[in-house]
Amino acid sequence: MKISFNINGKPQVVEVEDENTPLLWVVRDVLQLKGTKFGCGKSACGACTLHVNGQAIRSCSYAVKFAAGQDVVTIEGLGTPEKPHPVQQAWIEEVVPQCGYCQPGFIMATAALLSENPNPSDDDIDQNIINVCRCATYYRMRKAIHRAAEISNQNPIS
């Protein structure tokens, strides 16, 4: 069956056998956007976090049928090296990634948090950024989240 949604700002029609296929696999294997990662398949690690209508969604457990007619944004659509999203800019400034595998998920989760809460406190960060990073880059991520808030507040995203 055909399902239509916007992916990174562009309309897209995908053909799937099963409407319950997780959005993650449609994004990765059909649309060939590999930045959204598979980690656990059970919504437990957050490596597959992307945005549906601006909300952070764990796409490994989100059926593609729910994306129909919605705006889906992945790490590839968040920003570019030429025009990085404030979260990406902050991640670069603080040199956050180590292995890097979980980082798109964290960046997407952080971008969604900042759009709702432009100045998250440390406690807000603790409660909202609940993905898993095995390299344990949490110390730098916390600094980068505060820095991203600063950057966004200086140059509000239109």
Binding site: T80, Q88, V95, P97, C99, G100, R134, M141
Partner: protein, 716 residues
């Protein structure tokens, strides 16, 4: 296509401690226009086997005058590619952003046939890589001299440009069309003061790929016409595959083939979700001869059980009938790697040749194992390593590459295969559980008269493909499990360390820092307890008894600096207490001072002051990043992580229930201070895991009067 030229042999000194680095070889150089290659091959005598390995580096100059380095080591987060780029840039006289580093594939470069691990990459490459880069620079200069018609000595090199008397040429122009190279003697390396990048906190070279989601990992790899596969792995420890009823699974949508091998069954389908759905329809018959329990494991891993090996012996043993002897037992649990990128591979076998794209720490071993399993020559297996979504020792075992290759043979197409998360947790190559008996006796001046560490562990190095079993016959012990097991307090007149080794019914192996985390927990908790019994300050008690040799001096220094920087005190202030611990691993001493409070029986680590002596830090910022990561990963093992046997199966099987340190319980303050006790780079990525568990337990002791003797540390 490559053309080797005049082979030359030379020796370089390098590596650490007893590790000698011997290089013999030819340069490999590739000009993208002519694809002419010239090679330099170096042989690193491994610290373990002494047998030769052949990491080879390829330098490639692109048309637009950038440099591609084909690294013999992989990048798994530790920052090695950035360190490599810094070393190459400084000796090649190019800018850092002119250097790109990629992992060499077995077909196009010669890779490190041992491993990327042991926190050794930068330490091992320190001399040979700079010598190769400097030699390569001279070779380019020599070609430029001919083209510019000037004396080679009159040529200056800077930012990838050669210049002499107003004439200029890029490296790319200089190497263009060269088919025959002269390889000079290795030139003298630059003095440290001339380095622009080495020793500086430059940014990681892989940031862009990792912040914008480029497809750089094994999981992201694809091949044309590729299919997707799952394999059914056992849930019970020790279960053996008998047979499977595949009837229903075969009929599931998208299933191309159910592949039945002697000891496993897999499903190949058009998409991963289809393969996974079909898997639930398979009825597999397993032979479970015994349902292993926690108690079974504890009985096996017990001091006094298994093979005994005395690894340290000074003075006389403490007597059990001596009233003054204090004895305490410590334990650590089974730990999982839990790296976020699952294990897997993309494989294609066609016409007797195999291509494997994989996240691996053992490129050469992966190649050899696939070749053996398929009955083909290793040169017919091209292993293409990718960036690793975490390593931590897990990817020193890549038997899944064989399975991916076999699946590809079965369907005659490229196949991507990877583990589910449950399979990762139940079929990990775990960190073995440990048991420790510490003994000590206070004597004159209330200092230790005797100190003993008796410890039991499962396999770490034994049984591993990268350590020949014969070596263990010679050494007599598991060289991985013993890491951190020795007594560093050499001023004590009587001390010893005794290891007991047993093999468990499930696979155990390398987990970042190996035995260091648990061994240091036992030793440094016990020493702390003895300091309290002696009525002495924990810092002074340690400083007095650490040895006076070179190693001892460096250990004392990290303890002193950590104590000073943290303002270590035995007092409880604002309901917060400090804990200190120190260890030495891979010749890199490290000390942590942690500040801890307890609220509602929950331990909160507020601040960690870390002091590491890793010698020369090629990239101080990335060394700090490794310390921060090691501290939090170590805290995770110390305070949260534990695999348990229930009804013959290992649990938990998912993040969350496998409790880990996350953002909310990471310390909000981490201060890393680097001290330089020697002038060469030493291991970084594991030593800071050593003291963290004991440091936390020592702080908890001061807050509660309770001595915690088991990991993970729990109060309730």
């Amino acid at each position: 296509m490559s053309k080797k030229i005049s082979r030359r042999k030379f020796l370089v000194r390098g590596g650490i401690g007893t590790i000698g680095v011997v290089a013999l070889g030819t340069y490999v150089f590739r000009n993208p226009l002519r694809r002419s290659a010239y090679s330099m091959m170096e042989t690193i005598v491994s610290p373990y086997s002494g047998s030769g390995t052949e990491p080879n580096l390829w330098f490639e100059v692109t048309k637009d005058n950038n440099l591609i380095v084909h690294s013999p080591k992989v990048e798994m987060g530790q920052g090695t590619f950035t360190g490599i780029a810094q070393m190459v840039a400084d000796e090649m006289d190019v800018l850092l952003d002119q250097v790109q580093v990629i992992a060499a594939a077995t077909d196009t470069g010669i890779v490190d046939s041992l491993s990327t691990g042991g926190s050794l990459s930068i330490a091992q490459l320190w001399i040979p890589l700079r010598e190769m880069s400097a030699t390569m620079r001279e070779m380019i200069k020599s070609e430029a001299a001919k083209k510019l018609n000037v004396e080679m000595a009159a040529i200056n090199t800077k930012d990838g440009i050669l210049s002499s008397g107003g004439k200029e040429m890029t490296y790319a122009e200089a190497v263009s069309g060269v088919t025959d190279w002269e390889v000079p003697d290795s030139p003298e390396l630059k003095p440290m003061k001339d380095y622009k990048f080495i020793g500086k906190p430059v940014s990681r070279i892989d940031l862009r790929a990792k912040v914008f989601g480029e497809p750089i990992f094994g999981m992201d790899a694809e091949m044309p016409d590729m299919l997707h596969a799952v394999i059914v792995r056992p849930e019970h420890v020790g279960a053996k595959y008998k047979s499977a009823n595949i009837e229903e699974a075969e009929k599931m949508p998208g299933v191309v083939r159910v592949v039945q091998m002697d000891n496993w069954v897999g499903i190949v389908a058009n998409s991963y979700p289809q393969a996974l759905s079909a898997k639930f329809k398979l009825k597999v018959d397993w032979e479970v001869s015994k349902k292993w329990t926690e108690q079974d494991i504890r009985d096996i891993i017990s001091v006094g059980n298994g093979n005994e090996m005395v690894i340290q012996k000074e003075g006389s043993a403490l007597r059990d009938d001596d009233e003054g002897v204090v004895t305490m037992e410590f334990k650590s649990p089974i730990g999982a790697h839990a790296q976020i990128e699952p294990n897997g591979a993309v494989a294609h076998v066609k016409d007797g040749k195999a291509t494997i794209i994989i996240s691996t720490q053992v490129i050469g071993v992966t190649q050899k194992q696939v070749a053996e399993a398929l009955g083909i020559e290793p040169e017919n297996v091209n292993v293409i390593p990718t960036y690793l979504g975490g390593g931590f020792g897990r990817r020193l075992n890549t038997s899944h590459a064989i399975e991916a290759a076999q699946l590809s043979i079965a369907v005659g197409k490229p196949v991507k295969y990877f583990f589910t998360r449950k399979e990762e947790f139940q079929n990990d190559m775990f960190r073995p559980p440990t048991h420790h008996v510490m003994k000590g006796k206070l004597g004159k001046d209330n200092l230790l008269e005797g100190l003993e560490h008796h410890f039991a562990s499962g396999n770490v190095a034994i049984g591993s493909v990268i350590v020949p079993d014969a070596l263990h016959g010679i050494i007599g012990t598991d060289v991985g499990a013993m890491r951190g097991g020795s007594i560093q307090y050499r001023n004590i007149p009587n001390f010893r360390a005794v290891q007991w080794h047993s093999t468990l019914p499930f696979a155990t192996s390398w987990w970042r820092s190996l035995g260091l985390l648990a061994n240091t927990f036992a030793i440094e908790s016990f020493v702390d307890e003895m300091a309290i019994k002696a009525g002495k300050d924990a810092v002074e008690f340690r400083l007095t008894q650490v040895g006076d040799g070179e190693e001892g001096k460096r250990i004392k220094n990290v303890i002193k600096v950590a104590s000073d920087k943290a303002g270590y005190t035995e007092e409880i202030r604002d309901n917060r207490a400090m804990g200190i611990a120190a260890s030495i691993d891979g010749n890199s001493p490290c000390a942590h001072v942690v500040t801890v409070s307890i609220e509602n029986q929950q331990i909160k680590v507020h601040k960690v002051v870390c002091v590491l002596d890793c010698g020369l830090a090629v990239n101080p910022d990335q060394v700090k990043a490794q310390c921060e990561g090691s501290i939090i990963m170590g805290m995770s093992a110390a305070l949260h992580e534990k695999m348990t046997l229930k009804d013959g199966q290992l649990y938990p099987t998912i993040y969350g229930p496998y409790d880990m340190t996350l953002m909310k319980n990471s310390p909000r303050e981490i201060e890393v201070h680097l001290v330089k006790g020697v002038e060469v780079p030493l291991p970084v990525g594991e030593p800071p895991l050593g003291p963290i568990a004991a440091a936390v337990a020592n702080a908890v002791r001061r807050l509660t009067d309770r001595r915690i003797t088991e990991l993970p540390i729990k109060l309730a």
